[in-house]
Symmetry: C2
Subunit: 661 residues, 2 copies
Amino acid sequence: MGGSSNRVNIFKDIPDLENSLPISGQTMEPLQIHKVSCPKGKKTLQTLKQELGEVFFPDDPLHQFKNQSFLRKLALALQYLFPIFQWGSEYNLQLLKSDAISGLTIASLAIPQGISYAKLANLPPIIGLYSSFVPPLIYSVLGSSRDLAVGPVSIASLVMGSMLREAVSPDKEPTMYLQLAFTATFFAGVFQASLGFLRLGFIVDFLSKPTLIGFMGGAAIIVSLQQLKGLLGIVHFTTKMGFVPVMLSVFKQRTEWAWQTVILGFCFLCFLLITRHIGLRRPKLFWVSAAAPLTSVILSTIIVFGLKGHSHGIQTIGKLQEGLNPPSANMLYFRGSYLGLAIKTGIITGILSLTEGIAVGRTFASLKNYQVDGNKEMMAIGLMNMAGSCTSCYVTTGSFSRSAVNYNAGSKTAVSNMVMASVVLITMLFLMPLFFYTPNVILSVIIITAVIGLIDFSSAMRLWKVDKLDFVACLSAFFGVLFISVQIGLAIAVGISMLKILMHVTRPSVVILGKVPGTMSYRSLGQYREAARIPSLIILGIESPIYFANSMYLQERILRWVREEEERAAKMMESNIKCIVLDISAVTAIDASGIDALLELKKALNNRSIQLVIANPVAGVAEKLNLSEAWEKLGSECIYMRVCEAVVAVSSMLKGQQGQP
Amino acid sequence: MGGSSNRVNIFKDIPDLENSLPISGQTMEPLQIHKVSCPKGKKTLQTLKQELGEVFFPDDPLHQFKNQSFLRKLALALQYLFPIFQWGSEYNLQLLKSDAISGLTIASLAIPQGISYAKLANLPPIIGLYSSFVPPLIYSVLGSSRDLAVGPVSIASLVMGSMLREAVSPDKEPTMYLQLAFTATFFAGVFQASLGFLRLGFIVDFLSKPTLIGFMGGAAIIVSLQQLKGLLGIVHFTTKMGFVPVMLSVFKQRTEWAWQTVILGFCFLCFLLITRHIGLRRPKLFWVSAAAPLTSVILSTIIVFGLKGHSHGIQTIGKLQEGLNPPSANMLYFRGSYLGLAIKTGIITGILSLTEGIAVGRTFASLKNYQVDGNKEMMAIGLMNMAGSCTSCYVTTGSFSRSAVNYNAGSKTAVSNMVMASVVLITMLFLMPLFFYTPNVILSVIIITAVIGLIDFSSAMRLWKVDKLDFVACLSAFFGVLFISVQIGLAIAVGISMLKILMHVTRPSVVILGKVPGTMSYRSLGQYREAARIPSLIILGIESPIYFANSMYLQERILRWVREEEERAAKMMESNIKCIVLDISAVTAIDASGIDALLELKKALNNRSIQLVIANPVAGVAEKLNLSEAWEKLGSECIYMRVCEAVVAVSSMLKGQQGQP
């Protein structure tokens, strides 16, 4: 590593390279040119193994098993599969106290929300309670998040309800509808668990943030509008989900509006919105908003009971069956005409609930600084839904609102889910008659308050500020959900997200580089004012992989740069363009079309007596160029490790040509 | 730009930076740190205009109109719209001679091919001749390629035939089938012209090369197998396109095989294959392969006429209507149940024929070193098909085989297309009775010989060598076409091509960088053996944009690098990791999720007392970071222009910390 004995200040007085270029007539000693190493092709199997490893095991899950004894490995495997063994051994009374408090708190939220969300999915209210009992128990054994509060959620309930209702009416064929709901839940679970098992968790990442913001906002408004049925006491309401039919239905049925219901509803809506506001403003007062829904249920039930409101046109829940979750495995539906619908509904609700569950899990994990393993979470949520579908539960996942309350109430482990499940169990066994006089309007009010938090206006504004195209994706999802349908809205949004990635590849930026004075680095002229052009050369930085989708564009765009630079040089009375240096540091991949484009470009430039030189191919690109024999065709003497080496080499060569007669 | 008077050899003896790092205890004068310029947000409209310009006008088509007088502008516009004015004024007898020879040559190919391809599309043979008359005339006025020979082509004929036959039988409802074919042609033209007019030409680029190789190969085999009907003289043949039904049909109908037809067919197949081979081996003898089809037609007609073969079971073309193209605008079909099918067929055949036409045009343009404007070509081909659909023509485009013959025969301008059209006109007016005894088997033989050239085995092998995933895409397209259907095969192939782009973004490479001795550059340790790590630091290069699709992955992958490097450092008894430098030169774009991921990463690292430093954000990324206020959150003092500046700054800071008690 010679030179360490010869320490001088290398930074203070580096002469400007352009002034010392041979072309300006002065002599200069040669720059040390580095050979660009051109990796030899690895064996097919080896490459494949490495690539698949990166795709499916980026987190290297077997890492902790390395260099361990057999028994230790067994224990680790058990802990890996059942995280309860990880924290269970160190569990103590102190932790239990915290978990009991948070468990009770989320139970007070889970019971009214469970009943409400079941109604959103057009299911009997009791299914919502069933779904708040079995899945939390299973999750507390399998799940790796300490803060996730598991149960039904609004978006998945809404989507399931809207998709199934298109084919089967929940009023006319209630048994069939229930069968379909359980079957869809089963397939959602199978889909989720297999995504986790096959380590395809990255599919969830394709729902981009702008998409989700728009989708959630649209869904929240649709859900809220649907609640106008309960809030206004309308009996004959449209079964459609869109903005237009719902609003039409609301105003057509004006005669059915019941003023008693409206007054009761708006009073409690104000109450819940105010408590929600308090909870948001002062996290320490989280219990105000957490306890409000149960309080509203109790208060409104007492009011209706006291005023005999049910005889004044206020609709109530009515009789609920007492008892434990009945088994429902025999209700799963594996044949016949609706099987396709059940699978489709399962996959869509499955992916939506996974997205919510994992995002929530990660959010709170990062607040407490621990890691949540996405693929493991998927398996846990999937198994929980599969088990749920056999015990009269519908799709469940980690809910944002309840998890936030759980976190604020000081939960320490998944035991808080067990506490919540126990409270739900007691309710189901003994307290069901108490809900007889609970008015439906209160469920609508609870749903509205819960989903209003999904409208994230400030994030949407931030998108507008940062990236207009993301904002368009967000708006499309929003209006797609609002005016067309939930599924189409989702499809549009995912499509736009993908298109954005593809567009970036299809129309990559090509920037012109110049030398930053005092360095040997070349940077974009547009970005760095101080960067200066090198006469007779064009140095272009290509900012994208070169693929079939952009190879034609890049070829034409580079030729246009040449034309423009030639015109500029002619105008400024500078010397002609002799060479183009392509800085391909940011070209992180290349395919057969891309390689052909480079060779075509070289031919087109050589026809104009312009030389093509390439600087800094990354390993993957160098390998491809070598394998396709483009390395020799481009000329290995035309491939440099750094732009500055290329510039010096080309300049001295040009000078040599000038020197000849 | 100081220092030019102080010229020393800066390259020979640069001390290794790591040895001169402050951390090793020696003093050093400070490196000049460059401020990373953080571009101010441009106005929305300005950005939009620039971005749209790049998307739709990458070739800056109005460039030539700048600084011209009004009359000159008018002339240029006329020349732009009708390229015939560009070359027409300089046309002379010398050029005409060349064009006449090449025009006659391609006519001798176009007549038998026209008849054959029309049969491939289940259309009456005469439609193939009509389609070789009007479209070439229109193209010669509008087209910008000098070598393209226009007419029906095999792939588009095959796809149109197979798509329309699924809904309407060409035997039972010939008029309806004809109407649909003209309507599909009309929509193909409208689609092509609007792609060109809306400057969406890049959509064609989404058919990647591997996809096309596989698709063409599969289609060629399907077409050849279909010709077994004619080659074996089978009368009752399957109407399906797949490999399995066709082979089943061939062997089930063994009783129908006609030995006279088989002998005649195989003799001429050998003749055509041999002449094709000669043409390929010796480009100067191109006329041997060019004249062979017409020779075969004439010879076989004479043989059949002489031996009275039609009474020995050899099927012949029979009577063809003499006369010019009849108008068919009244046959276009704009309503009813098949309209959707016609539009779909139009779009698919339109995009396929565009791909072929533009690829062929560009290939020969680059051989003669002129430019073909993709969007203009699309408009020309589209208008030609729209006009064709009103004059009894079906989908036409530039054919590869005929254009190659045209080029080799010395064509100079589009006049060769006019000469060809005139010969076809004479044929249609006077020579139709001559085809009465032409055997169908000869048409099958001509088709087989033409499509066999589409099987590009060597390119497929090159794909296997260069990129396994591309090879898989190619194979999928091939088998999809062969065993499922032409459309599904195409859809699979396009899907895989897109998926490949998305996969590259979803699982980008992250490489660990080291300092290349004797330079201030940092390069991948895996690529450059001589690159060396810097103690206490991890320098990571991220080789992809940071998007929602990979932000989670990158976050986890970087944390895994940290863990692995910490383990390595512990094993090697090196000092702890204190800082991570992210070289984001190759991060050419970032979105909201990506920015959040960076901020999350900073938090996660800070929790482990590791610092996060960023080097070389490109203009687009710097702008986004600034707009989203992440610039301040990351700390503007943690963003450097070069990795070496970041390393020196961090090292001196770490030393400062060490110095403190």
